[in-house]
């Protein structure tokens, strides 16, 4: 298990270097985006819909290529270095919960018995160890999302990318998952890039908020949330939290005006 280093003392994991992304039909999804991602960062990409947040994640995940500019990893990426959670749970409906979580290992060619403990640990961490043998359709939306998160972290990746994972869930479930997510990040000490369009969510979760604007998609400014971890329900109701939310809102407003 890695430990998250103090904020000013983190090594770079990857750098997004002056990236442009133009889709066919001259849609400029990203313009001159630069971002340095450091080990242990919890970065939120915050912005209105259409500002290129998903595009940025797909570029980092290697699912598409920048039109110009580069994504540079400090060490060459290995299988299992990267975990991804999409807006939909994206589970294989024909496989049980534990088989779904087993997937990243299975694709690496590892046998189930050799990683059974890791799978069980991941499921325990998301509180679903009792549902190992259930099929996805038997679970609620929030539980499916937990399985998806367990699958993303089962390989203990360096970096987890999450694209509005909780946007489709109700507020109660979302708060609970926010708390759990922070706990998990602390446990496996990974770096997270989290896409959201909720100011409150981004402030609660992250220590860096990258505010983006649309048409063309670009970074407007970065907001630092220096409240210490662990953050819990108490933080959610604190004056400090409210102040950070105001600052992030203002930055977002700024971004909307700039658009």
């Amino acid at each position: 298990m890695r430990k998250v280093a103090p904020f000013d003392d983190r090594a770079e994991v990857l750098r997004v270097n002056a990236v442009d992304k133009v889709f066919p039909g001259d849609v400029q999804a990203l313009k001159d985006m630069s971002l340095s991602v450091r080990a242990g960062d919890f970065i939120s990409l915050l912005g209105p819909s259409g500002c290129g947040k998903s595009t940025a994640l797909r570029l980092i995940a290697g699912l598409s290529e920048p039109t110009s500019g580069r994504i540079e990893w400090d060490e060459p990426r290995k299988d299992g270095d990267l975990g991804v959670v999409f807006q939909e749970p994206t589970l294989m409906p024909w496989a049980t919960v534990s088989q779904n979580v087993y997937l990243p290992f299975r694709l690496e060619g590892k046998s189930y018995t050799s990683v059974r403990d890791d799978i069980l640990d991941a499921l325990k961490l998301v509180g679903l160890d009792k549902f190992q043998n259930s099929y996805p359709r038997e679970l609620s939306g929030g539980m499916k999302m937990r399985v998806s998160i367990a699958r993303a972290m089962v390989t203990q990746p360096k970096l987890i990318l999450m694209d509005e994972p909780f946007a489709a869930l109700d507020e109660i479930t979302r708060f609970k998952l926010n708390n759990d997510l922070l706990e998990m990040q602390a446990r496996i000490g990974c770096t997270v890039i989290f896409v959201t369009h909720s100011v409150f969510e981004s402030v609660f979760l992250s220590d860096r908020i990258v505010v983006m604007a649309a048409r063309p998609g670009r970074v407007i400014e970065e907001v630092r949330v220096d409240a210490p971890y662990p953050r819990d329900e108490e933080f959610r109701t604190s004056a400090e939290y409210a102040a950070h939310c105001r600052a992030a809102s203002k930055a977002l407003e700024h971004a909307m005006e700039a658009a």
């Binding site: 999409f86 294989m92 024909w94 359709r137």
Partner: protein, 287 residues
């Protein structure tokens, strides 16, 4: 109430009138599902019998149900042998249609070039009526069995091919991305992602192919005639027709229909068994 006491959803005894009404409705619906088709059949057979008797129709024009039943029981050894032959051809054709159809679908999916070269011919085979192709086949194919299989295969493989192709291409795009991120090989993607995604589509095509391979077998038999392989049901129907043994024609026809129903029921059951754990189509929903 005279019959068994009504029970509610959880097996609890019914309390109020509204619940009693709903429970009664459920029970009536459940019975009607089986009773109605049987009642309709009995009514039709009775009507058939009456029409024959009232109009004094001679049996070589339209035999009554009693005569057809007589033929069914009396000619049973002949009909059973014929049914075995037709059934065997049908099943063998279905098996090669499944292997050929699904195999081609996978091949097409893996290689665009192969798909571009062969797909038009698959369509041509499908749209040309098999009755028109069959006589040609029997000119060039020595073995009657092989010829019959070929005919049945031509009609049956296409639904398997097209539905499996659709299934292989209907993979959730996020899952596809996930497999890419984890560096899955082409075979891992095929085996662990595309084939399971295609299964419900494949099973839909299989159900259609089951009926079609029976049709193909019957058509092939009619064209091939007897000789070499013995006689199947279609040939028996034709032969009985020449002899004005109309009762036996009906009896053989009833067996063909029963075989079709059996194939459909068996494939539906197979489909349900394979999908019941996870697929929406196998879910029981209210209303």
């Amino acid at each position: 109430m005279t019959d068994a006491p009504l029970t509610g959803p959880m097996g609890k005894p019914v309390v109020d009138a509204e619940e009693a009404r709903r429970a009664r409705k459920r029970k009536i619906e459940a019975t009607a599902r089986y009773l109605l088709p049987v009642a309709v059949m009995i009514l039709m057979i009775w009507l058939w019998d009456r029409i024959v008797v009232w109009n004094e129709i001679p049996h070589f024009i339209l035999p009554g149900p009693d005569r057809v039943w007589g033929s069914l029981t009396g000619d049973w050894p002949i009909l059973w042998d014929a049914a075995l032959l037709t059934g065997r051809i049908t099943l063998m054709a279905l098996v090669i249609a499944v292997v050929g159809g699904a195999g081609l679908a996978i091949l097409f999916n893996q290689s665009k070039m192969v798909e571009l070269s062969l797909y038009p011919y698959a369509v041509i085979l499908q749209v040309t009526p098999v009755v028109a192709i069959a006589p040609l086949i029997f000119i060039y194919v020595e073995s009657k069995t092989v010829g019959m299989l070929l005919c049945a295969w031509i009609v049956a493989f296409f639904p398997v091919l097209s539905s499996t192709t659709l299934g292989l291409n209907s993979v959730d795009h996020n899952l596809r991305d996930l497999f890419r991120i984890y560096g899955a090989s082409r075979w891992q993607k095929l085996w662990m992602l595309q084939l399971p995604s295609a299964l419900p589509y494949f099973l839909g095509g299989l159900k259609i192919a089951g009926g079609l391979s029976l049709i193909g077998a019957v058509v092939a038999e009619l064209v091939a005639g007897t000789g070499g392989v013995g006689t199947g049901l279609a040939f028996r129907i034709q032969e009985a027709g020449y002899r004005l043994n109309i009762a036996r024609m009906f009896a053989a026809l009833a067996i063909v229909a029963a075989m079709g129903v059996f194939i459909f029921a068996a494939l539906s059951l197979l489909s349900h068994m394979l999908l019941r754990k996870w697929h929406e189509s196998a879910l029981k929903r209210e209303g």
